[in-house]
Structures are given as C-alpha cells and as structure tokens.
Amino acid sequence: MSWYRSKVERDLARWQTAGWVNEAGASAIRADLQSRKSPFGVAPIFAILGAVLFGFAAMSFVASNWTAMSKLARLALLLATLWGCYGAAAVLLQRQLNAFAQAAVLGGIAVYGASIMLIAQMYHMEGNPPDAILMWALGALLAAVLVRSNPALAATFVLLVVWTCWERGLGQAAHWTFLIGWAATAAAAAWLGWRPGLHLAALSLVVWLVPLGFFIFDHHAHWIVVLIGGAVGVAAAGAAPAIDRQVPASAALFAYGLILAFAGLHILQFIDPLMLFGMQQDTDSIQRLVLLAILTLAMLLGAMLWALGADNRAALWLAYAAFALEIFTLYLRTFGTLLNTSLFFLIAAVIVSLLAWVAYRLHQRKVPTGAAA
C-alpha cells in the first residue's frame, strides 16, 4: 500500500469516529483510492533498470578485448546496436508499451555514448576528452526533444554536469559555456512540462554555481554564490504570489536559493580559509569566522521562520539540516580556544531560546483569536 493511501486510511477512521464522514462517503473514498494506480509500476522501473544494465554492458565493451574484429566490423556492430535500440523503441511504441519504449531510447543513448568512446579508441583519438561527453549530451538532448523522452532529458543533465566538472578540472576556469547547454536543456524540460526535469535543471545549475567562486575574480569570490542564492531566496519569498500565479515554483525556488546561499557561506567559513591559511588561525580570521557564522545562523533562522509561515516543508527541513551542519562544523573548528567556542555556543543558545519563547507567545496570542473567528 502506498504511503498516501495508508495515511488517508488512518485519517478516515479518525474522521468517521468524529462523525465528519459518513459510511457511504468513507467507502467511496476507499474505492477511489483502490482504483488509483501507483505511478511507480514495477514493470517500467525494471525496464529502465534493464536499459541501464544494457548501457553498462555496452560500456564494458571498451574494456573487453575485441581486437579480433576488423574496424569495419566493429563500426557495423555499433551502428546495428544503435539502430536496433531505436527500432525496438518504435515497435514498443506501436504496441503502446510506452515505458519499455522509453527504456529502449535510453539504451540507444547509452550505445551512442559507448560508440563515441569506442571510435575514439579505435582511431587513437585523444583530443579534449570532455568534448566527447558534450557530444554525448547533445545526442541525449536531441532524443529528449524528438521522442519527448523524460529519461533522456535526465541523462542530458547528468552528462552536462559531468562535462562541466571535467572541463573545470582541466581548464581551471569558470566554464561559462555550460550555461548555453544548460539553458537549452532547461528549456526542453519546460517544454516537456516535466516537473522532476525542472528540479534536475535547478540542481545541475546549483552544482555548477556552488564552486563558481573558485574560478572567478580572485579565486575566492564565494560571496557571489551567497549573493545569488540570497537574491533567489528573497525574490522567491517576496514575490511568491506573483510567481505562483504563473507556475507553482516559489517554494522550490526558495529552497534552492537557501541551498546556494548556505553552500557559499559554508565554503567562505570553512573550506576557503583552509586552502588559504591551512589550520592556523589569527585574530582576524577568527573574527571573520564569527561574523560569518552569525550571518549564517541568522539567515537559517530567518529561512526557518519564513518556511514555517509559508508551510514550505522542504525548505524547513533543509534549514534544520543546514543549522545542524553549521553548528557541528563550528564545533569542530573552534574559535581559537575551547572557552571562546563554548561562549559562542552559549550566546547562540540564549538567542535561539529567546526566539523560541517569542514564537511561543505569538502562537499563544494567535490561537484564541483564530478560534473566535
């Protein structure tokens, strides 16, 4: 039984005892729940997993010994497999087996990527290895748009992220070209109207943005990540009704803004100084850390307050998790001496407790008026 169904069943029993739902209504709701099909059938999941396994089988071809074949035979084999996958997709589509057809398309994309690598190997091509990943990503994007394939779109985002991380590793530069590929793929996700695809778009952009500070200006420009994240979060919170009238996205945007801003602050506080100065600390760096820590905790408390008010569960849990991570990392870092650290935590504890008390009083005052209305 699905999580949703068991929850409704439990609530239904409670509502029936309270007399809000009669027997006829309850059985109608149960019948409706029964008739609903779970969106995650076993067959499509196994079909997709099967396609992934086929992909791995094709990839291990790189490692296996196939030198006995002539180059022409190898090329023919690769192309036959490629066309076989798309042919299978066509047959499956005609039989209305859409999930299996999607799996076949995903298999075709895997074979396409393996073919790029195998041809490069056959002809001893080296060039710039990330270019091969880009070529693969573009093939996947074409599949996503032409066949309206959601799995192909997901594969495109994954490949784009691999491409940009590799380029950044080799070139030690911001790699702005990523944004062109990302924008095209995000537009495809919007056109397909696939919500998880839009989340993947946001996530892949976050993955690109978080380390951006290492590559621009003085290579320590993490404040820019904090600013972008803060701006997205504030805009999502401030213009929530206007955004949600277009697309119900303000809650998700707020959460992604929060992730970005926190990641930027985390790098500024703990990762960047470690690279600059190592483990040693002087008074200046400690003061900087304390200021940034106060800013981070204040931002997280503000985000929690807003998330509570807007009933934004994802952002609330993210803010809790970030708060815990921040406190834990601060504890490991310590400000110079253990005594100073304990003082910092004591002040933070007093402030948060005060906030709890204020929130409790506000809640108390709100409840009677709410009941009267």
Partner: protein, 190 residues
C-alpha cells in the same frame, strides 16, 4: 500525419543524426590519416610506471616538452588549444621553435604546425623559462592485449618512433608505430 507516424519519423531522425555524428568522427579521422602530411617523431619513455596502463600505452615525445620562452603573443589559456611550430633539424628530427595562440602560417617543407593543449604551465605564476608538457592528441595508443609490455620495453630502449599524420589545421593522428626503423604497427583505415 498520425501521432504514430510522427514518432516513428522522430526516431528515424534521431538514429540518423547520431549515426551522422559517429560517421563524421570516422570520416574526419580517415581524411586526416590519408591526406595529412607525414612526419616521424621518436618516442621517449614516459614515467615508466605509467607507460602501460590497461589496454593502451602512453607515448612520450621530445616535442611534447616545449620551453615556454618560445611563446610569441598572448599566453594560451589552460587546456585551450594553441599552436607549436616544429622545424626539421639536419639530422632529420623535429624540434619546436615557436608557440602561439593564433595559428601561424608556415608553408615551407622543413616546418610544420601542430595543435596542442597543456594543463600545466600556463598559470599566471609560471616562470618564463619553464618547460611545458604539451599534448597533441597522439599520446595514447591502444594495443592488442599482451603487446603492452613489449612496447614498454621498446620505448625504454628508445627503439620506437611514431608515424604521425598532420593536416592543415594542425590536427595530428598516429598512423603507425615504427620499431627499429621498420613500420610495425600500421593502422588500417577501416
């Protein structure tokens, strides 16, 4: 057109487009191998522990180590293509004489332009008399299983050279491996 016909057409276009990309890779390479200018570069041993890795050998070249002071014009960016001009010495070997970000026009018979990349040495802190490790895309050679050890020994004894094809754009490809002045591993086109 019905929805089914449309999706079949879409699948056919997808398969054709991907086939086209793969075919272009092969055709481009075959063109380079058949019409490119031929030069022979002696192979020098790379770090011996790293020479034979899995199914391919890493090939090192004297021209893969280029003094950074040969640079003319602006510095190339890390991992972005730049050009190295090689000149043929009287003893028949090739040596780098110039690096530049823009493609130089060298038309004489004893000069050739190669396109390269470097992931080391172009940082702003690198000193001008540093030596750059340049990759020309001819540094990996996939070998039949069991042949790697033999090639490793031959490279260490400096008995190997690579026959390289170079096209007008500076792209280079391995045509074959020469052992003791005889072409031994010739690459079939297909």
């Amino acid at each position: 057109m019905t929805a089914t016909r449309k999706i079949l057409l879409a699948l056919a276009i997808l398969a054709l487009a991907q086939t086209g990309v793969l075919a272009a890779m092969v055709i481009d390479r075959v063109r380079l191998l058949t019409s490119g200018r031929e030069i022979t570069l002696p192979i020098v041993p790379v770090d011996p522990r790293d020479l034979f890795r899995g199914e391919y050998v890493r090939l090192g070249y004297d021209v893969g180590r280029v003094p950074a002071n040969l640079l003319e014009g602006p510095r190339p960016r890390l991992n972005r293509p730049f050009y190295v001009v090689l000149e043929k010495k009287p003893d028949g070997t090739w040596a780098p004489i110039k690096i530049s970000r823009a493609k130089p026009s060298e038309a004489s018979a004893d000069r050739i332009v190669l396109k390269g990349r470097s992931t080391f040495g172009w940082s702003s802190t690198a000193s001008p008399d540093a030596v750059l490790a340049v990759r020309y895309g001819i540094e990996s050679y996939f070998v039949p299983e069991g042949q790697g050890k033999r090639l490793e020994v031959l490279a260490r004894e400096k008995r190997m050279a690579a026959l390289i094809a170079v096209d007008a754009k500076g792209n280079a490809a391995i045509k074959g491996l020469i052992v003791d002045r005889a072409l031994q591993y010739e690459e079939p086109l297909f």
